[in-house]
C-alpha cells in the first residue's frame, strides 16, 4: 500500500459527476492508494461561504475534526472541497480566537479541531504520494497518438497563499501527469482562466462566454480532448458544449475527460470501466486513436 486516505466525496460528484468517482477509484486502486469512506458526511461548506462565512467555517471544521478522530488525511476528487478544507485548516491553526469560537460550537457534538490532518486533491496525492515513476510503471497502453489540452481550474491553485500547490501563473503538475500517460499536452491561450461555472444561475450569458472562450482557444491548437480535474469545470464544459455550439453557431466537438479517465485508458482499463458512457460530448473519435 502506497498511502491510506479518508475519501471526502463532496456534493457535486454523487449528484451528477459519477464518472469522476468511478474512474478515480479504479486508478487509485491500481496505484495502491487505499480509500476509507467518511463515517458521516456534511458538505465542505464552500457553497454557503458567500452568504455565511461562519457556516462555511463550521461545516469545514467539522469534517476536519471527524478526519482527526479517524487519524487519516483527507483525499478529495473536487478542488473546491480540497481548497476549502485546506484554507480552513490553515486559518484556524493560525487564528486562536477564531479556532476557540469554532471549537466551542463543535463541542456540542463532541468534536474538536486540532489541525492535525491535511486535505489533498487527487492530483496532489498522485504527484506527491504515488510519484511519477510509479504512475509511469502503471502505463501499459501509452496514448502516444493523442493530443490534449488541460484545464486546472481555479481552486486547485488559488488563492495561492492558502493552497500552496504548484505555480498559479504557470501550473505544471497536471501537464506532467498528462504527459506520463504518453499523450501530448498542448499549450494554449489563457490556460489558467476560470471555467465560469460559479456564474451559472447568476448570469448565464457571462458563464457561457467564459466557457466558449476557453473552448475556442483549445480548438485553435487542435486538441482532441480537454482534460479536467474538477467536477464543476467538467459540468461547465461537458454539459454546455452543445449549448454553446447552438448559441454561437460554432462547432467544437471536443470531448471533456476527467484526468482519471485519461490515466485509466493508459493503464489499460476499458472506456466502459471508466464510465465513458456518462460523457455528454461523444468521445468515440478520440478512442479510435488509442
Amino acid at each position: 500500500m502506497v498511502a491510506k486516505y479518508l475519501l471526502f466525496l463532496g456534493c457535486a460528484i454523487p449528484y451528477r459527476v459519477s464518472a469522476l468517482e468511478v474512474s478515480s477509484r479504479k486508478i487509485l486502486e491500481k496505484l495502491g492508494v487505499e480509500l476509507v469512506e467518511m463515517p458521516e458526511f456534511n458538505c465542505c461548506g464552500l457553497p454557503l461561504d458567500p452568504v455565511s462565512h461562519e457556516t462555511m467555517l463550521l461545516l469545514a471544521a467539522r469534517n476536519l475534526a471527524i478526519a482527526e478522530q479517524k487519524g487519516l488525511n483527507i483525499l478529495t476528487f473536487c478542488p473546491g472541497c480540497a481548497g476549502t478544507l485546506k484554507k480552513v485548516r490553515k486559518t484556524l491553526k493560525e487564528d486562536k480566537a477564531l479556532r476557540d469560537g469554532i471549537n466551542r460550537q463543535l463541542k456540542e457534538t463532541d468534536l474538536e479541531f486540532k489541525g492535525t490532518v491535511d486535505a489533498k486533491h487527487l492530483i496532489q496525492v498522485l504527484i506527491e504520494d504515488v510519484g511519477l515513476e510509479r504512475i509511469a510503471q502503471s502505463v501499459v497502453n501509452p496514448l502516444t497518438k493523442v493530443r490534449v489540452a488541460e484545464h486546472n481550474g481555479c481552486h486547485i491553485l488559488r488563492p495561492s497563499s492558502f493552497i500552496g500547490f504548484d505555480d498559479p501563473e504557470d501550473p505544471k503538475t497536471l501537464k506532467t501527469l498528462v504527459e506520463v500517460t504518453g499523450a501530448t499536452c498542448l499549450d494554449y491561450m489563457d490556460e489558467t482562466e476560470c471555467c465560469g461555472a460559479p456564474s451559472v444561475g447568476v448570469n448565464d450569458k457571462v458563464a457561457l462566454q467564459l466557457a466558449r472562450d476557453k473552448l475556442s482557444h483549445i480548438k485553435a491548437v487542435d486538441a482532441q480532448a480537454l482534460i479536467t480535474i474538477c467536477p464543476f469545470c467538467h459540468i461547465m464544459y461537458d454539459t454546455n458544449e452543445l449549448r454553446i455550439e447552438r448559441t454561437f453557431n460554432e462547432t467544437y466537438g471536443i470531448p471533456i475527460l476527467h484526468y482519471s479517465q485519461l490515466l485509466g485508458l493508459a493503464m489499460g482499463l476499458s472506456p466502459a470501466e471508466l464510465a465513458f458512457n456518462e460523457l455528454r460530448v461523444n468521445a468515440s473519435k478520440l478512442l479510435e486513436h488509442l
Binding site: 466525496l9 456534493c11 457535486a12 454523487p14 449528484y15 451528477r16 459519477s18 468517482e21 468511478v22 477509484r25 469512506e37 467518511m38 463515517p39 458521516e40 458526511f41 456534511n42 458538505c43 457553497p47 454557503l48 461561504d49 458567500p50 452568504v51 455565511s52 462565512h53 461562519e54 457556516t55 463550521l58 461545516l59 467539522r62 486559518t91 477564531l98 460550537q105 463543535l106 456540542e108 457534538t109 481555479c154 481552486h155 488559488r158 488563492p159 495561492s160 497563499s161 498559479p168 489558467t192 482562466e193 476560470c194 465560469g196 461555472a197 460559479p198 456564474s199 444561475g201 447568476v202 448570469n203 450569458k205 457571462v206 462566454q209 467564459l210 472562450d213 464510465a275
Partner: protein
C-alpha cells in the same frame, strides 16, 4: 434574483462613514483600506471581461466611500466567480475576493439572498449534501459497484449550526 434588483432612486446616495470599519472588522475584510485603486483586479477579472456591470475595483471603492445601501443591494455583487485571480495578483494584498465575500455576507444579513443559497442551506441541514441526490443516482451507485453514500447526521449538523444567525427562522422550523 428578483429580490436583489438594484433600486433606482433620484435621491442622493446615502453614505455610511462607518461602513469601511464594519467591513475591516470582519474576517477577510481586514485589508479593505489598503486599496489604492490600481485596477489590477478588474483588468484581470474573467467575469469583468464579459460583464458590462461587474467591476471589482468599483465595488471596493464604493465600500471605502461608505455607499453601503447601494453596494449591498446590487445584483453585480453576486457575479464574482470566486476564481481568486484578483486576490493572487493584488499588489496591495487586499484579498479582493474575500472583501467581496464579506460584502455578500453583509448583503445576506440585510436580506438580499439569491434563492439558490436558501435551497442549499436547507438541503445541507436535511441530508448533509448541498444538493438533493436523486434516488436514481443512489440506485445507480450499486450497479456501478460504488459503495453506499455516507449519510449526513441531521441532528449533529443542526447542533453545529445552531448559533448561525442566517436563516434562523428556518432552522427553528426544522427543529
Amino acid at each position: 434574483m428578483a429580490e436583489c434588483k438594484e433600486k433606482e432612486t433620484n435621491k442622493p446616495t446615502k453614505l455610511d462613514p462607518q461602513f469601511k470599519y464594519q467591513i475591516s472588522k470582519m474576517h477577510g475584510g481586514e485589508k479593505l483600506m489598503r486599496c489604492f485603486q490600481c485596477g489590477t483586479c478588474t483588468s484581470d477579472c474573467p467575469v469583468a471581461r464579459f460583464s458590462d456591470t461587474y467591476r471589482p475595483r468599483q465595488i471596493i471603492r464604493m465600500a471605502q466611500l461608505g455607499m453601503k445601501d447601494k453596494v449591498l443591494s446590487s445584483d453585480t455583487l453576486w457575479l464574482c466567480a470566486a476564481c481568486f485571480t484578483c486576490t493572487d495578483r493584488c499588489p496591495q494584498d487586499v484579498e479582493v475576493a474575500n472583501v467581496i465575500r464579506v460584502l455578500r455576507n453583509l448583503a445576506a444579513e440585510e436580506g438580499y439572498i439569491p434563492q439558490v443559497f436558501k435551497e442549499q442551506f436547507d438541503s445541507i441541514l436535511e441530508s448533509g449534501y448541498a444538493y438533493k441526490i436523486p434516488e436514481l443516482r443512489l440506485k445507480k451507485r450499486e450497479t456501478s459497484g460504488l459503495p453506499p453514500l455516507p449519510k449526513g447526521n441531521q441532528q449533529k449538523i443542526k447542533k453545529t449550526l445552531s448559533e448561525v444567525h442566517l436563516f434562523k427562522d428556518k432552522q427553528k422550523e426544522g427543529q
